[in-house]
Symmetry: C2
Subunit: 669 residues, 2 copies
């Protein structure tokens, strides 16, 4: 051990945090200063990591659910020897720096997930701990714990108040995630002040009610006590563990510690000077004495433990070569070698069968065709398994406690499900998908956004996608959700028209490595599209000519641009229009996002410039006008739905051949 005291090490974190915030004139010093001592206990005495290989599979996961305290994490990463220099810290919150305002995965080495939106970090942690548990059960062998790590989450009062913390911590209890250790920064202050005005939960009782072990309250500034608490938490055999750490926000600042003022603004030169004096840190901003760096440096120890693990993995590889190869593939996120054959077979079978089924049923058929080839597929539903049809023949449910289970009943917890899936995807080894009714994508919306921001392969299955769900009425009928999901950058929204497009959509979502997809399915039957040819590559481009004008390509008077269940209507209208000597091309656009990424040649081939276009989708209409280079109109739904049988509603909302014909007539006048 170095002669540098643990307290001094903590003060290095405090100093770097307050100085970086001061330089940026923006940021949150309170949390890093308050949790610095806890961080010393965890990062120097327990956390297993190698700063020189942030992606080492055997590392413990560390999540800052209270992500506004990003400088805490940046200071720790810098001090322990990650590729994060003092200049990076000086560039805190500046354009293209490695130290953005909130921690961002893939931007900063050592950051495991992007946090800031409160409550989602702990949810990601639950997902990571679940993935670890399931992957360990599948791949570990006697003497070879190749998957074996803890997941540590720092979280504050904000995370505790957020509803998502209820959803995911309840599930962590059900799942018995004993290697999940959450440390609660119980400082009694949130932005509006003393939390007792709006937050008086007995948090210990609450977490015990979820089936967690709870340790504390512990003095969060007593590094040895925190060390002991973490050591105790690591012995848990069946339950996740919450450590309640009593801290003072902004600890070290003589005049601001313990107040809301220290939460989210720079201390100012004077109070920084006061703090330096108070904590005995007599070094200029961004200067850390060599012996303090030395005390923090984790590179040698990190290399040592990774090398131990590597040696163990080499033995595993020797004894279980196939298992090792499969684990490597899974962690790399590569699909199986025969993947494209599997997809092509599924498409051929669907093309042959020409079935008219609800696309949610088509989705289940796709799963039956694809899932057996994809052991990494980890499905689930927020208590709508039989409605979303997310299970496939023979899949085991996690509720059985079987580690080879591949379907999870998440309960009625949409937001929790989505944020847990983000954690699973971040951990790796699995491709998660989860389902609910499309309208309830609202509940999980910010987690969908986070998956997109983090560019993770997470698949959202949203069924019952329009007024077509019928009797359940406007609370359940999506009218704004498809266009609204399309507005999330980097989210691919697929709304397939039939069995074949459904397989193409699933394949695209599974093959997409750099972002999430939403697969939107109907409750009601959709006719198999009688398209000119079955060209899976064309479908995979997001928009394609399903049926050319009967008289040929150059002859189209109008383009009917439709998605999902409305393609059937467009096809029927095309026939009726032909009988009236109007030549209509039907463009099916299962994924506008993917279509928009195609080259101009493809886009103009599908949507010939100048041709009148009638877009047909049972959703808000605003988003379609960008596709109209000539005259255009939209048949959509710009009001809430109603409770009635689907057939009655289609008629009432104008989704009839007659109305399409009338709209085309008006367009061509």
């Amino acid at each position: 051990m170095s002669h540098v005291s643990a307290q001094t090490m903590a003060n290095a974190v405090r100093a770097l945090s307050m100085d970086a915030v001061q330089k940026a004139k923006s940021g949150h010093p309170g949390m890093p200063m308050g949790m610095a001592d806890i961080a010393v206990a965890l990062w120097t005495r327990h956390l297993r990591f190698n700063p020189q290989n942030p992606h080492w599979a055997g590392r413990d996961r560390f999540i800052l659910s209270n992500g506004h305290g990003s400088m805490l994490q940046y200071a720790l990463l810098h001090l322990t020897g990650f590729d994060l220099s003092i200049d990076d810290l000086k560039a805190f919150r500046q354009l293209h720096s490695k130290t953005p305002g909130h921690p961002e995965v893939d931007v900063t080495p050592g950051v495991e997930t992007t946090t800031g939106p409160l409550g989602q970090g702990i949810a990601n942690g639950v997902g990571m701990a679940l993935a670890e548990k399931m992957l360990a059960a599948e791949f570990n062998r006697e003497g070879f714990p190749v998957i074996d790590n803890h997941t540590y989450v720092f979280l504050g009062d904000g995370c505790m108040m957020e509803g998502i913390s209820h959803e995911v911590c309840s599930l962590a209890g059900v799942w018995g995630l004993n290697k999940l250790i959450a440390i609660y920064d119980d400082n009694g202050i949130s932005i509006d002040g003393d939390v007792r005005g709006w937050f008086r939960d007995d948090t210990r009782a609450r977490f015990e009610a979820y089936g967690w072990d709870v340790i504390g309250p512990v003095d969060g500034h007593d590094i040895d006590a925190m060390d002991k608490a973490i050591a105790e938490a690591k012995t848990s055999q069946e339950k996740p563990v919450l450590i309640i750490a009593k801290t003072v926000i902004g600890k070290g600042s003589p005049n601001r510690a313990g107040t809301a003022k220290v939460h989210g603004e720079a201390l100012g030169d004077e109070e920084i000077a006061n703090t330096r004096a108070s904590i005995g840190w007599n070094h200029p901003p961004f200067e850390v004495p060599a012996e303090v760096y030395e005390a923090w440096d984790h590179r040698a120890e990190g290399e040592r433990i990774e090398n131990e693990w590597k040696a163990m993995f080499a033995g595993y590889e020797a004894q279980y070569p196939e298992l090792a190869a499969e684990l490597k593939r899974r962690l790399a996120g590569d699909l199986p070698a025969d993947w494209s054959d599997v997809v092509m077979n599924a498409i051929c079978q669907a093309a042959e069968a020409e079935e008219t089924v609800a696309t949610r049923k088509a989705s289940q058929k796709a799963l039956n065709a694809l899932a057996p080839a994809l052991p990494e597929l980890l499905g689930g539903s927020a208590d709508l398994t039989g409605s979303n049809l997310t299970n496939w023949t023979g899949v085991k449910s996690l509720n059985t406690g079987d580690a080879t289970a591949r379907h999870i009943s998440y309960g009625v917890r949409e937001f929790g499900m989505s944020a847990i899936m983000n954690g699973v995807a971040l951990y790796g080894g699995f491709i998660p998908y989860g389902a609910t009714f499309l309208t309830f994508s609202d509940y999980s919306r910010n987690a969908l956004r986070m998956a997109a921001l983090m560019k993770r392969r997470v698949i959202n299955v949203f069924t019952h996608d329009s007024i077509g769900l019928g009797e359940d009425g406007p609370t359940h009928q999506s009218v704004e959700h498809v266009p609204s999901l399309r507005l999330i950058p980097d989210m691919d929204v697929w709304r397939p028209a039939d069995t074949v497009e459904t397989i193409v959509a699933w394949a695209a979502a599974l093959e997409r490595r750099d972002g999430p997809s939403s697969l939107v399915f109907t409750r009601q039957n959709c006719a198999f599209v009688d398209r000119d040819e079955i060209d899976a590559d064309a479908m995979a481009r997001g928009g394609y000519v399903a049926a050319e004008a009967p008289a040929g390509e150059g002859e189209a008077d109008v383009i009917l641009l439709a998605t999902g269940s409305e393609v059937e209507l467009a096809m029927k209208a095309r026939a009726e229009l032909a009988a009236r000597n109007v030549q209509a091309r039907v463009v099916s656009m299962p994924c506008a996002d993917v279509f928009d990424r195609q080259d101009a040649e493809w886009r103009t081939k599908v949507l010939t410039p100048g041709k009148p276009v009638l877009a047909i989708e049972a959703s808000r209409t605003d988003g379609w006008w960008k596709y109209f280079s000539g005259r255009g109109d939209v048949l959509g739904v710009d009001r809430f739905g109603e409770s009635a049988p689907a057939g009655v509603l289609w008629e009432r909302f104008g989704f009839t051949v007659e109305n399409v014909v009338a709209k085309v007539d008006a367009l061509l006048k």
Copy 2:
């Protein structure tokens, strides 16, 4: 008392429920059959209501948070004598019936709120109980408890799992809402089956941790036991009360009771016959014996208790005429008589001051001008009061326990806040508003939708509205949220450009009786718009000509269509374009939704058909193309933001005069 047994009364509910679902071939029989006995205990022995006046201010509120069990409520409303006929029950889930799939306020007499999206009903109940408590404290006088009712909420496992139940029940505990009584249908079954696979909370311990009293488990089929539990709950003096009722879902169905199958599908003729036999209900579908109707009929009793209340209110009115008049005004939702003067004064002052401030600051100034005239205004923030600037000079915080408080620190609970506001608005007497950062509107999105669906005057304040918030980075920077909120039907989204438009937006939101508004404000300063004239009526039309082309109306070469902080950029670009001999009109569109409702004359005056338009808004671009009748382009943001100072970001994302000029040049080529 009638000779009809309580059990028979419950069986009438069971029979009507299963028969209506069977006739509709759609719906949820399990919950109504499981909670029928509880309903008898509550509705015949405790609930205070008058079927002939569903709007009587003294009534207890009843909420079906597990709204899929709508037939329970419809059966109760029918049997007790509300204007809901047996034919209405026969029309269950049919177009334009008074019995839609899920309960909808304003559609069915006696339904207090629209439910179905789980967890939000209990949140509405918390809001109603809060409104009752605050209104009672303000208006009641010794001997005149003019505001005095309980709020009863039925909820199931789904509501208990949803995160929002955590947020709002925690707040109900803090607020000590002792007249809120929640009855938990603890049947152990959700759609995926036995809940123990995904839900093992100790719910008693959880609610005690929130500061609730918990009664039970009680046998939910023992009507006298439930009666006693409710009677006990009503004696609570300080805490909300949860009654845990153990029930069997689908009780009465010999082969389906206790299974997930009975939850959401019709029993079928055979099992209905079995059930009839099993419960001894030997009447044809939709036939209820006269003596059973008589036993249920609550009209005389309802009239009696309302008359008692009316007599008391008459005494109150005699003794406190001003207070009574004010209470009547508040409950009617009318604004004060001098309201338009107040608004006009505020606008004149802002027009004179010509201040350059952030619109969030302009919003606070608007509140300072308007709030003192509006005692019904009940503001709040999800723990961002000092950032959202939702408090005004002298406003008291609810945290003080003062009933005349008009600002609530909701804690970090965005969804809970929004759904509680819906409950407050439904109760009446207040106009609620609540705030968070715009990006976290995601968290509350479905409650925003519910406010729109219910057409309630709820005001959402969303600050920090774009990349302009700067350093906090992409997790906090809205790029899709303004267009996405616009997609919610009946939601008016205001994004004002300066101090004057901010007052107009607040006034519009406050005056709008039939729907919610979202007020979107900047973190950063916005220049006072140097418009041609200050015409509040024009601004109130949602879009107007802020500055005509310098050479006159007919001379405009291009229209710069901008919102919020981008109006300043448009004005600068207009000047630069004029120097280059390009005539630009600047249209400010603070509310596209309101603009879209204007007559064609106004719309074409503002956006002259055929004129090229460049839309400028720091958001996703898709929604603007519908306004382009000639050439058009959009300067927007179609990707996630970045962490950097705001000035750097505006430059990087192209929000510069040079870039606007370049885009106009390209448009005019």
